[in-house]
């Protein structure tokens, strides 16, 4: 069994979906009611790999909504309760989707192993970041040449370079792609210096300096809502890969030789027959999903029941190659520029 822990993109959206699913007690409730709502196992599904293997899985809605980010204790409980439910249901490997892995990491949930009468077994969970990082790298490699960017001459800026996904992307770019230059941007300078030392390459710089130089920009930072970027200063063509969460780089710049690609999204080769990705606002919800969710499915296909992606800066090139090969084998592919991202309706 694989599991996916997700949440709605907003409180209003969550209420609408709860109403559709028949969860009237919370559909009619205010935010306080949602703060007391238990996680819900919304759907069970059977998925057949391109190799013919069948696996079963469940989608758990944590009943977290982004409006709860300002209530740290609530957010913490939502994630831990959803994880407890996944474990109680006997799910072998569960991916933490959307904000849940970010909350787990940033709010130090590792110190909360005991949830009621359940001792959480971390090996049952994955952030899915290894697959996400691999998918972003593939999206970069495949889509840059399509819009006339020669990778060998390209300058790539990674915004959020010291994060779990960001550092993995940097590692891959330096070692596997032969790009001309790597610019690394992050808020904290100390880990940035450490990363540069580890990679023995890349240039540490600021966002303002990086953007005008970059042919390709990989965003893997959670961006402040107030950020303003003058697109006149960007190179043309420019490929922007929106690998952060939420995906909040607008699509409107596609027409002006600035190509925005939804990063870390994969497509399955077949219709899955589930409703859960409609909840996640995917463009083709029968096939598309977050790469982190797909990681749980891949690990289940491979009977690799371990917290494959866990903690920070543990993503090695070997792990990325392993998950990438398995991803292709079982029928996943990274979405490309021909898939126009849809604006999130918030």
């Amino acid at each position: 069994m694989f599991g996916l822990i997700g949440h709605s993109t907003s409180f209003e959206d969550a209420k609408r979906k709860a109403s559709l699913l028949g969860f009237d007690h919370i559909a009619d409730g205010d935010l306080d009611v949602w703060c007391t709502a238990p996680p819900q196992l919304v759907e069970n599904v059977e998925v057949k790999s391109a190799t013919g293997i069948s696996i079963e899985g469940s989608y758990i809605d944590s009943c977290f909504v982004p409006e709860m980010l300002s209530r740290f204790k609530t957010a913490r409980r939502k994630v831990l309760n959803a994880m407890e439910l996944a474990q109680k249901k006997g799910i072998n490997i569960t991916a933490l989707g959307g904000f849940t892995s970010i909350i787990f990491e940033n709010f130090n949930l590792l110190q909360h192993k005991q949830i009621r009468n359940t001792s959480l077994e971390w090996e049952r969970f994955t952030t899915g970041n290894t697959h996400t990082a691999w998918v972003i790298c593939k999206q970069l490699e495949v889509n840059a040449p399509r819009i006339g960017i020669d990778l060998k001459k390209a300058t790539v800026a990674v915004i959020g370079a010291t994060g779990d996904i960001g550092s993995a992307v940097c590692r891959w770019l330096i070692n596997k792609t032969g790009i001309s230059e790597l610019l690394m941007v992050a808020r904290q300078q100390e880990p940035l210096a450490l990363l540069q030392k580890e990679l023995d390459g890349g240039t540490v710089t600021s966002l303002d300096e990086a953007l005008p130089q970059a042919d390709i920009v990989v965003w893997v930072a959670s961006m402040p809502k107030t950020i303003e970027i003058d697109t006149n200063k960007l190179k043309k063509p420019c490929l922007m890969i929106d690998g952060g969460y939420p995906k909040n780089l607008d699509e409107k710049f596609q027409g002006e030789n600035i190509h925005v690609l939804k990063g870390g999204i994969v497509e399955f080769f077949n219709d899955i027959g589930w409703n859960m990705m409609e909840l996640a606002e995917m463009q083709n919800p029968q096939r598309e999903m977050f790469a982190c969710f797909a990681e749980a499915m891949i690990l289940e296909f491979e009977k690799c029941h371990t917290n494959f992606s866990w903690g920070r800066n543990n993503i090695s090139l070997e792990k990325m190659e392993f998950i990438g090969a398995a991803s292709l084998k079982h029928g996943f592919s990274a979405i490309g520029l021909d898939k126009q991202p849809r604006v999130l309706t918030v």
Binding site: T9, S10, L21, G22, F23, D24, H25, I26, D28, G29, D32, V33, C35, T36, A37, P38, Q40, P66, E67, L69, S70, R71, F72, K73, T74, A75, R76, R77, N81, F99, I102, N106, F107, N108, R116, N117, A221, S222, M223, P224, K225, T226, I227, E228, I229, D230, T231, N232, P246, N248, L249, D250, K252, F253, E256, V343, L344, V346
Partner: protein
């Protein structure tokens, strides 16, 4: 032409920096001061509720046995356990030098107690099990689970032992209702509609005292809903039926 990247309205972690800082602040995990007058005052009522709750549970299980005599032995065992819990919680109060306000606690349970007695007289076993083995047990488990996180070391140890037992009790009612679901569903729904709002009111009533003990109302309610939902799920009700039942808590 000048363009700016438009960012949607969705919340980001960045925009909630304070939350992240708070999560890293160990002060948040600090225990309350168990020696203050305000703590002891609140404890005198909370402790009494717990003691009275265990006494009620003891009496209720023995009463339920009169409706299913072949379960007498099992129910007597459960009742005995509740008495043991009562003693444990009495010791918790004594340990802090608190005299439990039993008069308050009796009044606190009076409505639910009354409903149980009426159901018992009528021989409505399903209603009795819903009140005792689901609602009261889920209420107790939720409160104990929250309390364990902020209790004094002595009470923490006792409460941890009690919680383990209480899950067994929840299980008892659950099993009977599961086996008899086809015949007891209507009564279960009806009894729930009447009694779940009482639990919600009881929770509201105790919220202020609980917060003095560092027990958060939101957390209490959530814990209750988790235990309640789990049990109904185990009994064999589906998501929609559970949602309909849980509606009664939103009053």
């Amino acid at each position: 032409m000048h363009n700016e990247l438009k960012i949607t309205d969705m919340q980001t972690l960045e925009s909630n920096k304070k939350t992240t800082e708070e999560s890293n602040n160990p002060v948040c995990l600090n225990l309350p001061d168990f020696t203050t007058d305000s703590y002891k005052d609140a404890y005198s009522r909370i402790n009494a509720i717990v003691i009275e709750g265990e006494q009620e549970a003891h009496d209720n299980y023995l009463s339920i046995a009169t409706l299913i005599p072949n379960e007498l032995e099992e129910l007597t065992k459960l009742a005995r356990m509740e008495m043991k819990h009562k003693k444990g919680f009495t010791a918790c109060g004594r340990n802090l030098g608190v005299v439990a306000d039993m008069e308050f606690a009796k009044k606190f349970f009076s409505k639910l107690h009354g409903n149980f007695q009426i159901a018992l007289e009528k021989g409505n076993l399903t209603t009795c099990l819903l009140i005792q083995a689901i609602l009261i047990e889920a209420f107790a488990i939720s409160a104990y689970n929250v309390y364990i996180r902020v209790a004094d070391p002595f009470a923490k140890k006792i409460t941890e032992g009690v919680v383990k037992d209480e899950y067994l009790h929840l299980n008892y009612g659950q099993e009977w209702l599961k086996e008899n679901l086809s015949t007891c569903k209507d009564e279960l729904m009806e009894a729930n509609k009447v009694n779940l709002p009482l639990i919600k009111k009881m929770l509201d009533e105790v919220a202020n005292d609980a917060s003095v003990l560092a027990m958060d109302k939101e957390e209490l309610m959530e814990e209750f809903m988790i235990a309640y939902q789990d049990t109904l799920m185990e009994i064999g009700l589906d998501n929609r039926e559970i949602a309909r039942m849980a509606m009664a808590a939103i009053v």
